[in-house]
């Protein structure tokens, strides 16, 4: 087995099995990745920082532990980490000039757990600045391309992680999802992207965008691998007061092969006819495939879901305006000098933040400010309750809800210059986020966009009631196993066409 085969096409379970059986050492894998990665990522642009030394250290540690008789669920599995998660001693930028040279002095809980399970850190991946965006174009530091068409975006905000897994530059990756930032890029890059129930995975060490919505989750090329990664990172963390103090049920052993006895809700308000005939047909087929696996399709209503975007674009910016106040040039990160501290703040923040971040800070500050708080922020909080209640009612009639993961396949660079047009990409994912529900995107086909020549992947979003990760991943596995859409596309690009 060549290094390429092992690293770039094998799944996490297969790699871990071979390392645990000592058929291959983690050190060899780390070395293969170290040698191959810079060249393979040169044009794709998935990574902001590579961590070969750290990867080697972890590989050595993994080999020692296995030699000592341990079995590690992710032994020797090369992983990518979105650059909004702290990794001690490693540059952690959030895709921003503000933190371009910041070295994290501590490690995020989820990252620490992934590595403790035997994973090898390849590096940190590109993202929309502070996780605000749906295309990765808001990164201040690098352009990441879609592995299926270099003229197109990988999605966002976790675009680097999605592209790395999609282009076979990582076996697994961590992303974070606030309004769709795992699911949309997963759909764009032909991979599985899973956002757990809010509170399942510790946010400690995840640089906050919107605290009540942010959630870390895995990218993988199969549902099974996503489940393995999730099992490694999930669980109560005393360092995160919003982390759920509940026993964590492993999901990797709950994978099903059919959907018999399961009711899948198709949302009346989420019709796909407006998305064009090809996309409409793809989703109609996806729903039919669910039924063919034994699921009963039921129509459910989410009458308030249409308010999701408006609700989200008040709550998330409000929280972000406060979360990002700490980037003030005093303790870390960029500083632009000023005559006094106030001027220093204003110049630092003007220079350190990009357009989208500034827009969200401004709208969030406005929504919280005196005289507007009730009309905007409180109103949005109430709308959030209404949306969550809608989902509760819907889940009384079904076990899962199926919908598109994004409104379109990956679009070309600079196609969405109007902020609101970009926000509409997350129409299907945002209501789910507001309700805190677990959801994932699984590949469900491909369409050739009107302005393109290559088939671009589509993602099916499956959402489940709170804490129903086992149900969700089990069902997604059955769908994936029966349809195998991810494998139907040609191998992804890793270099620019000559």
């Amino acid at each position: 087995m060549s290094a390429d085969d092992l690293l770039f096409t094998s799944g996490a379970r297969a790699i871990a099995r071979s390392v645990n059986r000592r058929e291959r050492s983690a050190a060899d894998i780390a070395e293969a990745v170290r040698v191959a990665l810079p060249e393979r990522d040169r044009d794709l642009g998935a990574y902001l920082t590579l961590t070969p030394d750290l990867m080697r250290q972890h590989a050595r540690r993994v080999d020692e532990r296995i030699a000592a008789g341990e079995t590690l669920p992710l032994a020797g599995v090369p992983v990518a980490i979105k650059d909004n998660m702290c990794l001690r001693g490693t540059r952690t930028t959030c895709g921003s000039k503000m933190l371009e040279n910041w070295i994290a002095p501590y490690t995020a809980t989820a990252v620490g757990r992934l590595l403790a399970a035997g994973a090898l850190p390849i590096g940190k991946t590109n993202m929309d600045e502070f996780a605000m965006g749906s295309s990765c174009e808001n990164s201040a530091l690098r352009t990441t391309r879609n592995p299926y068409d270099f003229d197109r975006v990988p999605g966002g905000s976790s675009g680097g992680s999605a592209a790395a897994v999609g282009a076979e530059l990582a076996t697994l990756a961590l992303g974070s999802d606030t309004g769709g930032s795992i699911r949309e890029p997963a759909a764009f890059c032909n991979v599985v992207g899973f956002k757990p129930t809010y509170g399942r995975v510790s946010r400690y060490g995840l640089i906050a965008f919107a605290s009540s919505l942010d959630q870390i989750g895995p990218f993988a090329r199969t549902v099974e691998d996503a489940a393995l990664a999730y099992d490694a990172i999930a669980g109560y963390d005393p360092l995160d007061a919003t982390s759920l103090n509940a026993p964590n049920e492993p999901t990797a052993d709950a994978l099903r092969t059919d959907l018999r006895g399961m009711r899948v809700g198709i949302v009346k308000e989420f019709g796909t006819a407006d998305l064009g005939p090809a996309i409409h047909a793809a989703y109609a087929q996806a729903y039919a495939d669910l039924a063919a696996l034994g699921a009963e399709l039921v129509e459910v209503e989410l009458p308030t879901a249409k308010y999701g975007l408006a609700t989200y674009y008040l709550i998330a910016p409000a929280e972000c305006s406060s979360n990002l106040a700490r980037f003030d040039g005093v303790r870390y990160g960029l500083r632009v000098d000023g005559a006094d501290v106030g001027e220093m703040y204003e110049k630092t923040r003007a220079a350190g933040f990009g357009d989208e971040v500034k827009r969200r800070i401004l709208i969030g500050t406005y929504a919280l400010s005196s005289g507007y708080y009730d009309a905007y922020y409180v109103k949005a909080q109430k709308a959030r309750t209404a949306i969550a209640d809608d989902f509760k009612r819907a889940f009384a009639r079904c076990d899962l809800i199926a919908s598109p993961a994004a409104s379109t396949p990956a679009f070309t660079f600079n196609a969405k210059s109007d902020p609101v047009a970009m926000y509409l990409m997350d129409y299907y994912t945002i209501p789910v986020s507001l309700a805190g529900l677990p959801a994932l995107s699984v590949p469900c086909g491909a369409v050739v966009p009107e302005d393109g020549t290559r088939p671009m992947p589509l993602g099916l979003q499956l959402a489940a009631p709170l804490f129903s990760e086992r149900l969700l991943l089990g069902a997604a596995h059955a769908y994936e196993r029966a349809t195998q859409h991810a494998l139907k596309l040609p191998r992804p690009q890793i270099a620019k066409a000559p």
Binding site: T92, A241, T242, S322, L368
Partner: protein, 497 residues
């Protein structure tokens, strides 16, 4: 900055107005660790050595509340009869300042841990007063800035500042009073009441010199008898109880002067200048702050159930006001005596235990505030930690009250107890220190003294009363202080008649 030196207005002007004062004070809670992280809550330390990702607000760090701090708040609330709402939450107060790491402070806005309540306190003349509380809420302290380049460490004229975050994140409670206070004396007495209560509850050391209590005062004046409040000013930068008194007094005089001259009071913040003895306007041109409070999404709400409240209530010690009233009402202590005891909780507990055994508050008080306190001061050992047990003291008081020993002997026995411990009764018995009141025995001592001092007898006969004192002294000496002094005098006079 605008400075207005206040001239003291005439007394009749002062009598015309009534001051209306409200106090806001911040008290650092005594816990092992900080409010939202495990860094030590300790004063001092090299700069930036008691910090972690959380209290330094590093990207990605999250707060988790300290359970002990929340319980301290419930204790404080119950001590002042506050309501403990069943539901409470933390909010973010957003404003930028270099010593505020997150550029927001985790505080409580509309659902504080305690609401209402009343602080009962007493003045130096024994007058009892009450001041209602609006609320007490829990928040976190900021770091500390040192201003450099101005020569005097002040912010004005400084060219840069140095920030230490050791204090950032220390649990802080903010107590807000209603405007029920009417004078600078009352303000200080109110603060004394807060201080001694928090110390008694063990929830704060309340060391103003270390900044663990900081307070602001809202001051306005109105004509006596008027129902409406006047325009208030907020006084800041008072760093001792003495400066609170001086600042409020100065502000009352300044406002009185303005009103007497027919001028308006401007609603503003004024800083107390300790050296100059005046308040300065701290008006800034900026618009009023807009703190954009909202519920902190990193934290979950608190629900304090009745069982928790009752558990905390049951464990409360006797509070200073109750102890004060008991001493004054039941034991008839003076205001000063009661205050002295109440302000020294371990001494007061010692006192109570001794009184329990001796049933003589006055006798115990004499020793506790007299010789025992003197011995404690001289030795640096607290009375409660000395070898004199409350039970031994009670015996000593009983022996004295029963006139088994006289006061001179009692003092000697106390010193022996202080040095060696043991029982007062045993010492008195072993050394035959009991007072001799048998006329025959005393007569023998007297006869011996008369025989040995014929000149004094002659002097007495010549009308010199001093000679009698000398003879009494001789008898006492011969009897090693045990002779009943009153009987000695009677017998002496009788013999020399």
């Amino acid at each position: 900055m605008i400075s207005e030196r206040s001239s003291v207005p005439p007394a009749d002007a002062a009598a015309k107005y009534e001051a209306v004062i409200g106090i806001e004070c911040h008290v650092e809670l005594k816990t092992a660790s900080k409010m939202f992280c495990g860094c030590p809550n300790a004063f001092g330390g090299e700069p930036n050595t008691q910090v972690c990702p959380v209290c330094l607000a590093l990207p990605g760090a999250l707060p988790v509340p300290n359970a002990a701090a929340i319980e301290h708040m419930i204790r404080a609330g119950l001590a002042f009869d506050c309501a403990i709402p069943a539901f409470s939450k933390f909010d973010r107060k957003n404003y930028f300042y270099p010593d505020m790491p997150k550029d927001y402070q985790i505080s409580q806005y509309d659902m504080p841990l305690t609401q209402g309540g009343v602080v009962r306190y007493w003045l130096a003349d024994g007058t009892l007063r009450e001041c209602r509380l609006t609320r007490i809420h829990l928040e976190e302290d900021t770091g500390k800035s040192t201003h450099a380049g101005s020569g005097d460490g002040r912010i004005a004229g400084s060219t840069y500042s140095l920030v230490d975050f050791n204090r950032a994140g220390v649990p802080l409670m903010e107590c807000v009073s209603d405007p029920d206070i009417r004078s600078a004396d009352e303000a200080v007495a109110f603060l004394d009441a807060l201080k001694r209560t928090f110390v008694q509850l063990g929830i704060s050391d309340v060391k103003m010199e270390e900044g663990s209590l900081r307070c602001d005062a809202n001051v306005s004046l109105r004509l006596r008898g008027a129902a409406e409040y006047g325009t208030k000013t907020e006084i800041k930068n008072m760093n001792s109880f003495r400066s609170v008194h001086r600042a409020i007094q100065s502000e009352i005089e300044r406002q009185t002067g303005l009103l007497e001259r027919g001028e308006r009071i401007i609603q503003e913040t004024r800083g107390w200048d300790e050296a100059g003895g005046v308040t300065h306007s701290m008006r800034s041109k900026e618009k009023a702050h807009d703190y954009r409070y909202f519920p902190d999404p990193d934290l979950v709400p608190m629900e304090i159930d009745a069982a928790t409240v009752e558990r905390v209530r049951a464990a409360l010690p006797e509070l200073p006001i109750a102890r004060y009233e008991r001493y004054v009402d039941a034991y008839k202590l003076s205001v000063a005596q009661a205050t002295q005891l109440v302000d020294n909780a371990s001494l007061a507990e010692y006192f109570d235990r001794a009184v329990d055994s001796a049933k003589s508050p006055a006798g115990v008080l004499n020793f506790v505030l007299g010789d025992l306190s003197r011995l404690a001061n001289e030795s640096g050992i607290e009375v409660a930690h000395s070898k004199v047990t409350p039970e031994a003291l009670a015996e000593l008081v009983a022996l004295t009250d029963a006139k088994t020993i006289n006061s001179k002997v009692a003092k000697d026995v106390l010193v022996r107890l202080w040095n060696d411990g043991g029982s007062a009764k045993a010492i008195v018995q072993a050394d035959g220190l009991a007072q001799v009141s048998d006329p025959a025995a005393v007569g023998a001592f007297v006869d011996a003294a008369l025989a040995a001092n014929p000149k004094s007898v002659a002097d007495f006969a010549a009308g010199k009363e001093n000679a009698l004192k000398f003879l009494i002294g001789q008898v006492m000496k011969a009897s090693r202080g045990t002779a009943n002094p009153a009987l000695v005098e009677t017998v002496l006079r009788d013999r020399m008649r």
